[in-house]
């Protein structure tokens, strides 16, 4: 059992009369990429900023690397890296200066020349922050988050505003952070990103955790099962109802949709072939995390 890096129990946070977070609990284990998903305004940023001691906490128990952010924020900040939403550097600060500065905040921090090379900023060493592209700024922020050689990094909406190619590059960066042994907490509202990167995740909506688990586990639980589709011109296929794992068969002219669970595709394919039917377009349509997310958050708003 890996040690928990972060534990959160019944976190609560209000801004005046507005309750941003009403009940959030989860744990992050060492070495994983942990996702916090939710629509805009769900309380994701408030949650991670509370963990970093940047927000006061009204209720619940929180522990980050064994420290309570209410009393030991400085201890936590020394050991974590952070990429924040809505934060910046002075436009005229050069890339190497930023790395040098953030690296010297903690004894044993990383040498800036090393970080430059690691994050593909070698050519941009003397460039000013204001002249960098969105993707380059993100890479710099990741490099800065790692400048103190942290045990845990928080990445908040890191790929928002990036073009698709830069997003893929950012995903690679996140995987590399984990390969270096650092635990990652990733806040995002992109489902494909969470599905690709996260080992486990929580879905937050309106300040509460509405689901938690691995992306695959959530899809199996909330994704509405597996859909198998194919076309077949003639004949009655009512026998499909008797195939193991099939729960529903729908027909629309020559197009069939079979719903079921788990290994239904293999059983349907075998049954079809057994009867001499080999549709060329037989395929399984997997639910994605997006379907899960929409069904979870729609239920909430109904």
């Amino acid at each position: 059992m890996p040690a928990p890096v972060v534990t959160v129990a019944n976190l609560q946070k209000r801004y005046g009369s507005f309750t941003a977070v009403s009940d959030v609990s989860f744990r992050v284990d060492e070495g994983e990429i942990f996702g916090i998903l939710g629509p805009n305004g769900a309380g994701k940023t408030t949650t991670v900023e509370s963990l970093q001691g940047l927000r006061s906490i009204e209720g619940g128990e929180v522990s980050v690397l064994g420290f309570d952010p209410r009393t030991h924020a400085a201890e936590i900040r020394r050991r974590i890296g952070s990429q924040l939403q809505e934060s910046a550097l002075p436009d005229r600060m050069k890339v190497w200066e930023a790395l040098d500065l953030f690296g010297s905040l903690r004894a044993g921090g990383r040498e800036w020349r090393e970080l430059l090379g690691d994050w593909g900023l070698g050519q941009k060493s003397d460039a000013r922050f204001g002249s960098l592209s969105g993707g380059q700024q993100q890479r710099l922020f990741v490099a800065l988050a790692l400048a103190n050689d942290p045990q845990l990094v928080f990445l908040d909406e890191m790929t928002t505003g990036l073009d698709p190619a830069s997003r893929r590059v950012a995903w690679e960066l996140i995987r590399r952070i984990r390969e270096q042994g650092t635990t990652v907490v990733l806040v995002t509202h992109f489902m494909d990103e969470a599905e690709t990167l996260c080992d486990r995740l929580v879905v937050i909506d309106a300040g509460t955790v509405v689901a938690h688990g691995s992306p695959q586990g959530l899809i199996e639980r909330y994704g509405g099962g597996v859909r198998v589709r194919f076309s077949h011109r003639d004949g009655d296929l009512a026998w499909l109802w008797d195939v193991p794992h099939v729960t529903e068969v729908q027909r629309n002219r020559d197009r069939f949709e079979v719903r079921g669970d788990g290994p239904v595709l293999a059983y349907v394919a075998a049954a079809l072939v057994e009867r001499g039917i080999a549709p060329v377009d037989l395929r399984q349509e997997r639910a994605t995390l997006e379907d899960v997310f929409l069904s979870l958050t729609e239920e909430e708003s109904e």
Binding site: Q52, L54, A74, R77, R78, S82, L84, E86, S87, A88, L89, P90, R92, M93, E97, D100, L101, F102, S104, L105, R106, R128, L144, A147, N148
Partner: protein, 245 residues
Amino acid sequence: MRLLGKTSWLELKLFLREPLTVLFALALPLLVLFVMGGVFGNEVDADYYRGIGAMDYYVPAYVALVTASVGLISLPVHIAGNRELGVLKRYHASGMPTWIVVGSSVITMFVIALFSATLLVVVAKLVHNIVWPASSIGVAGAFVISGLAFAALGVLLGAVLPNARAAQALGVLLWFVMLILGGAGPPPEVLTGVMDAIGAITPLRHAIRALQDGWLGLDAGLSWLVIALVFTAATAAAIRFFRWE
């Protein structure tokens, strides 16, 4: 301390990369010097300027004015602007201590004020042949305490004002009122009762007095004490109200 040095050096480099602010900090005092020097010269008139030559009166006043412009305008704009952009939040999350952020800004502004004041004095000596300070220690002490008081006011303004534009507007307004009523514009002797009374409560009036007293070997009144009080009160308030975001 190493971190404070590194951060201050970086802040100074960032400042020098803004050509307009550099021009403002260095050229404005010189411009005022040339205009006022051209108008009044350095003749002694017993009724005005504490009975000394106009330029002998004005140069220490302009040195005080430099500390005021750096403290009331440059520093608040810098701090409020960095908060507005999220730079302070970024520093905060990285574990940068507050005293480093504030201290490095204050040190940077001090260096700029010192450079600007030196340039002003050298030019004034060359053009108007002003007197040298009677007490170097008195002048240096008055410069440091004035600089600290205006820096504390500047950090306070930067802490409470929401953004760079608000900081600029209020900073310039305060600076201008102090310039006119504090004694760096018309001599206090020509101000009417109310104006003089308002002028007497501006920190600049006392900064000017303290610098002139050291420079001209005049009677050191309560000005030092007033500036020290301004410094203490503004520092306490700045610590109380400082916000990262």
